[in-house]
Every structure is written in C-alpha cells, then in structure tokens.
C-alpha cells in the first residue's frame, strides 16, 4: 500500500511526541483561563439562567404553541446528537479498518462525540414539560410500581442515548489510559496523584497492551452498530408519527448520513482550533484535511440525494396534505432558510473538489462551519415546517423561536466549548501512543 506522508514537517521523535502533547495539557496561559471564563459565563447567562426561568414558569417561555408543540429544543437535540456521530466513525470504523491517519485526530473526535451527546441529553431535559419527573422514563425501581412503556419511540431514545453515552465515555477513557500514564510520568505533586488514579497504575506491560488492544477492538465493534442505531432511533421519533414530512421511511438513513456529515464537518472545525491554538501543526496536517475533505464531498452527495428523494416521495404521493406541506417548506416563511441549507450543504461542499480548497485549512474551516450552519437549519426546518402543516387545515399554525430558545441555543454552543476546553486540559488531545505507533519503530534492523 502506498502510504501518504502523515507528518508535514518531518517525523517527530518519540520523546518529542510526549513533550508536545503533554505541553498542551499542563502549560496553561492566562488566555486559556480568560477563554474558559468567557464560555462559562456565556453558558450560565445564555443557557442556565433562561432554563431555570423556564423550569420556574413552564415551557410557555419558549415560542412553541398548540400547532407546533416541538421546536428549537428538539431540533437542537438532533443537531447535537448528529454532531456526535463522526467521533465514532473516526475512532471505531477507522480503527477496525486500521487507517493510520486517524491516529492523531481521533481523540478529539471522540471527545466531540461525548460532549455533544452531553449537550444533546441536556436538551432533552430542557425540552420536557416536567423535568422533575423525568426519571419516570428510566427503567428503575420506583414507588408507583409502574415501569416505562417500552413500545414508545421515546423510550428507544432513552435507551439508545444512555447506552451511547456510557459506551462512548468508556471508549474515550480506555483509549486514554496509556496517555494518562504518560502525563503521570511527566508531572509531580497533586497532578501526578490524580493521573496515577486516572491511569489505574498503567505500566505498559505486554499483557496490558494486549488486553487493551482486544478490549478496544470490542468497544469499536460494539459502538459502530450502536452509533447507526442511535440516529436511526432519533429519526423514528419523527418517522413514526403521521405528520406529513416526518412520516417517511427514508428518515433513518437520512438522519444517519446527515449526522456523520455534520459531525465530520465539526471535526474539521475542531482540528483547525487544535492546530491553531494548541500548536499541533506537526500532527494534524495535509493528509487529514485532504481525507476529511474527500469524506465530506461523498457525504454531501449522499445527503443531497436523500434530500431530493424526500421531497420526491412527498410530491409523488399526491396526497394534498403532503403537497401543502411541500409548498410551505419550499416557498413558505422558512423558504430562505431551506434554500440556504441547500446552498451550504449541497453546493458549497463541491468547492472541495478543488485541491486548492481542500488543502487550505482556512478555507476548510469556513466550509465546515457553513456545513454545520446548514445542518442546524436542516434540523430546524424538519421540525418547524412539518408540524405547523399537519393534516387538518384548521390547525395550520406557525412557529417562531422565542428569545429564550435562541439564547439557550447560543448557550449550548458555549456549553460545548466549555466542556471541550476542560477536555483539552484533562485528556491528552492527541493520542500519544497511537501517534508513536505511526513513527519509525524502535527496532535494531531499521535503525542500523
């Protein structure tokens, strides 16, 4: 197999990998703290405060009404769940297929999975009317002796997201254990104690490596079908209803594809930040942006195809309700948003066909952000153009997000940023041992 060059600026030494990665972890400047304080501040002001107000007053604080009982909270929930899918793709699928280029970026991709899932789970809590009874939807012993309804699509969601959250946190943690040991060896005092506990006293014996390798492969094998099932299940929340525009068999692949699409774009954004602000230029280079770009083009084409098919099915059905809904989506109030989504998700990614775009980090950053703006709108459009055009014309309505919803949406991004900023100071953001695996092996035969 012809290997592309993994490192743009020459191969680092083993020692240098340790130092570069751990440096990003333990050397914290004032700008980091300022950034963290800002994101925490935005989270509190834009997310926590409106949420508390909403819990106090009722969900009426949001802009939803009788015709559109689902709104931005749910569309954001799907968006964040979607964003979580690429991490699994990079870490699990590419682990099984033994791609070397994934090794320097998969840790942050996994972190993205974990944190966007956390944000998504928070959105479920923001969405429900009576947060204080949300434990009734968990299969746990309770004083009523009544367990949840496992025939409900919402319960599939509860089970899938809990499983995904558990599995992906174990997945990222297990992969980091050897690196926690490396941080332990490079630190002293309290930090050494903490990392001794976090690394379980990892020494890197052959037995440990062997067991980790096997366990990691099993995690990967278990997580891949899980990830596919999670977003399929999320799509069935919609597809099992009878609402025109939601009641579609194509929804599961549509959502899974869209999820991986927006997630991969999200990874490009995160990679850009890691390169620029943590100094990982040496480890994240041309090959990554090139491959991710190609992946994005492929995904964008699948996405476009499914999107066209979705409209076609509605139109071909000839059902007056479907056609009314299509008119509203394509030419109604939210039409500009719809066409913006088509522009950003179907046409802008085609620019990446040019090598000059694909290999330029700045251009890729812009494209990846545009794709995610498009995907955010896609989720919003799915909810807000379908529900107000249901089956009875008398109940045609309209939905526009309230200030509280917009603020909580903004706050969710700050929450994600906060979690990620904490992550880069706790976890080695680039996997130390997997990067070393791609370097020249320490063998006599190849050295001399």
């Amino acid at each position: 197999m012809v290997m592309k060059k993994l490192f743009d600026h020459g191969e680092p030494s083993y020692e240098q990998v340790n130092q570069d990665v751990i440096k990003s972890l333990i050397e914290t400047g004032p700008k980091y703290w300022m950034l963290l304080a800002t994101t925490v501040g935005i989270t509190v002001v834009c997310f926590i405060v409106p949420w508390m107000y909403q819990i106090h007053m009722g969900v009426g604080v949001a802009g939803m009404n009788r015709n559109a009982v689902w709104g931005t909270y749910l569309s954001n929930f799907i968006f964040w769940i979607g964003l979580s899918h690429s991490g699994t793709l990079l870490s699990a699928v590419l682990h099984i297929t033994q791609s070397d280029w994934r090794k320097s970026i998969y840790r942050s991709a996994e972190a993205m999975t974990l944190f966007s899932l956390m944000v998504a789970a928070t959105f479920v809590m923001v969405h429900v009317g009576r947060l204080w009874f949300i434990h009734w939807s968990f299969p746990i012993p309770n004083p009523m002796g009544l367990w949840p309804n496992f025939r409900s699509p919402i319960m599939f969601d509860v089970m899938a997201i809990t499983t995904y959250l558990t599995a992906s946190s174990i997945f990222i943690y297990m992969g980091s254990v050897p690196d926690f040991a490396a941080v332990r060896d490079y630190s002293s005092g309290l930090r050494r104690r903490i990392y001794t506990v976090l690394s379980f006293g990892w020494r890197g014996t052959s037995k440990e490596w062997h067991t980790l390798g096997w366990a990691y492969t099993f995690f990967a094998v278990l997580v891949i079908p899980l990830a596919v099932s999670v977003h399929s299940i999320v799509s069935w929340d919609f597809a099992l209803s009878t609402v025109p525009g939601l009641h579609q068999t194509i929804f599961a692949p549509y959502f899974v594809c869209g999820a991986i699409y927006s997630g991969t774009a999200g990874i490009v954004t995160v990679m850009y930040c890691l390169r620029r602000f943590l100094g990982f230029e040496r480890y994240i280079g041309k090959i990554h942006v090139d491959y991710l770009g190609k992946l994005l083009i492929a995904l964008s084409m699948i996405w476009t195809y499914i999107n066209i098919m979705e409209l076609f099915t509605g139109w071909y059905s000839g059902s007056s309700a479907e056609i009314e809904f299509l008119k509203f989506r394509l030419f109604g109030f939210y039409a500009p948003m719809y066409w913006e989504m088509i522009l950003f998700c179907a046409f802008v990614p085609l620019l990446m066909l040019f090598k000059s775009v694909r290999l330029n980090w700045n251009r890729m950053l812009v494209i990846s952000i545009l794709i995610n703006i498009g995907m955010l709108s896609e989720r919003f459009i799915i909810v807000s153009t379908s529900l107000p055009r249901k089956l009875l014309p008398d109940s045609y309505g309209f939905y526009f997000p309230s200030p509280a919803e917009i603020s909580i949406t903004v706050g969710s991004f700050a929450m994600f940023a906060t979690l990620f900023l904490i992550f880069i100071k706790v976890f080695p953001a680039v996997s130390i041992y997997e990067v070393k695996e791609t370097l020249n092996p320490l063998r006599r035969a190849e050295k001399t």
Binding site: I26, Y32, D185, T196
Partner: protein, 205 residues
C-alpha cells in the same frame, strides 16, 4: 498569533529533572489516594450519619401520627364503648368521603355522660361548641388530589374499615398504617379481581 500558552516551556524542566534521571514513579492507585483517606473517612461518617439521622427523624416524626386539636381516643370510643364506625363516620357507605362528625354530634353524647363531662379534653370540645366553630382535625389518611377514591364502593364491597385504617379501636391517637402508594391500591385490586380495577381511570382523575 493567539496562543493559549505563552509562558516559558515548563515541560523542558520537568523532562530534565524527572524523566532523564529515571525517577521511580509510583504506579499504585491506593498510594495516590492516601491523602484522601481522611476525607473519605469523613465522607463515609457523614453519609452514615445522614442516613441514621433520617431514620431517627422518621421514627420520631409525627407526620403519620399527628397531634390532634383534641386528644380524641378511638380506643375508648370504638374499642371500649363499642360505638360503630358508621355511627360517627356516617356517610362512609353513602358517599365518596367517610365524613367527620359535626361538633353537635360529639356534644350530643357528651352533654349526657356525667363521668367525663368535666375532663380537660371535653372542656376543649365545649369551647368549640360555645364558639360555634368546627374542630380543625388534621387529616391522617389523605390521598393526593389527583386520586378519585370513594368510601362508598369499598364499604359496600364488604371491606372492613380496619383493612385500610388499621386497628383503629386500639389506637389512642390515630396513626396511618398504610402507605397509600399506588402499588398498595393496585395490589389489593389485583388480588380481589375487581372490575376494571387496574384501569388507571378507576382511581386517577
């Protein structure tokens, strides 16, 4: 260029001191947790304390056995004097609520019973009678507002009052013996194969 770390590289120093000289690193997790021993112990003591405290609180709580405005004794009335439950709680077989007797009903008897007419508790009763005010009894068996419970159906079905209210005729002060939770209701409905007994709308409203 904005960089989150602009301090001199600490990592070099660490590498020189601790890595180069091959300093032994402790890999034992217990060892690393040692400084936490005191706080862990305190935490365990705290949790145990809270649990024990809650138990003690529950044991001595008057929530299930409130002090009533008048020390009315069911033991004397229903036990020793064998007054029928339905004599005072007269609407139990006719209406959803069993009914609390009016002050007039109490006074009606106590006017004529010479032995107890002068006791302190009867004086309280008389005070309410004089003031023409109802006695503010504290409800012991209180089901939530969303529950539709009717005494009538249960009494007519042949249930003894004691089955839910406990041995009232032995209690000086009324105490709640059943926990009034949903399984408490549904278990009985299942056991007795009641008509639509497990339909939510039988009890919920």
């Amino acid at each position: 260029m904005l960089s989150v770390h602009n301090r001199p590289p600490k990592i070099q120093a660490i590498a020189k001191q601790e890595f180069r000289e091959g300093v032994r690193v402790n890999v034992s997790v217990l060892e690393a947790l040692k400084p936490l021993r005191k706080s862990a112990l305190l935490g365990i003591i705290g949790i145990v304390g809270i649990v024990v405290g809650l138990k003690i609180n529950a044991a001595y709580s008057t929530h299930l056995k409130p002090v009533q405005p008048i020390e009315f004794s069911h033991r004397i009335h229903a036990g020793e004097n064998q007054i029928e439950c339905l004599y005072c709680h007269s609407s139990a077989d006719r209406s959803p609520s069993a009914g609390v007797p009016s002050v007039a009903k109490c006074v009606g008897c106590h006017e004529r019973i010479a032995t107890v007419r002068d006791s302190a508790e009867i004086a309280k009763l008389n005070a309410y009678w004089q003031a023409q005010e109802p006695i503010p009894w504290i409800k012991v068996h209180d089901v939530p507002d969303f529950v539709h419970f009717t005494h009538k159906r249960h009494v007519l079905a042949g249930l003894e009052c004691q089955q839910c209210h406990g041995p009232v005729e032995t209690m000086d002060r009324i105490e709640r013996v059943a926990d009034l939770t949903m399984p408490w209701c549904t278990d009985c409905h299942t056991l007795n194969q009641t008509d639509n007994g497990l339909d939510c709308y039988t009890c919920h409203k």
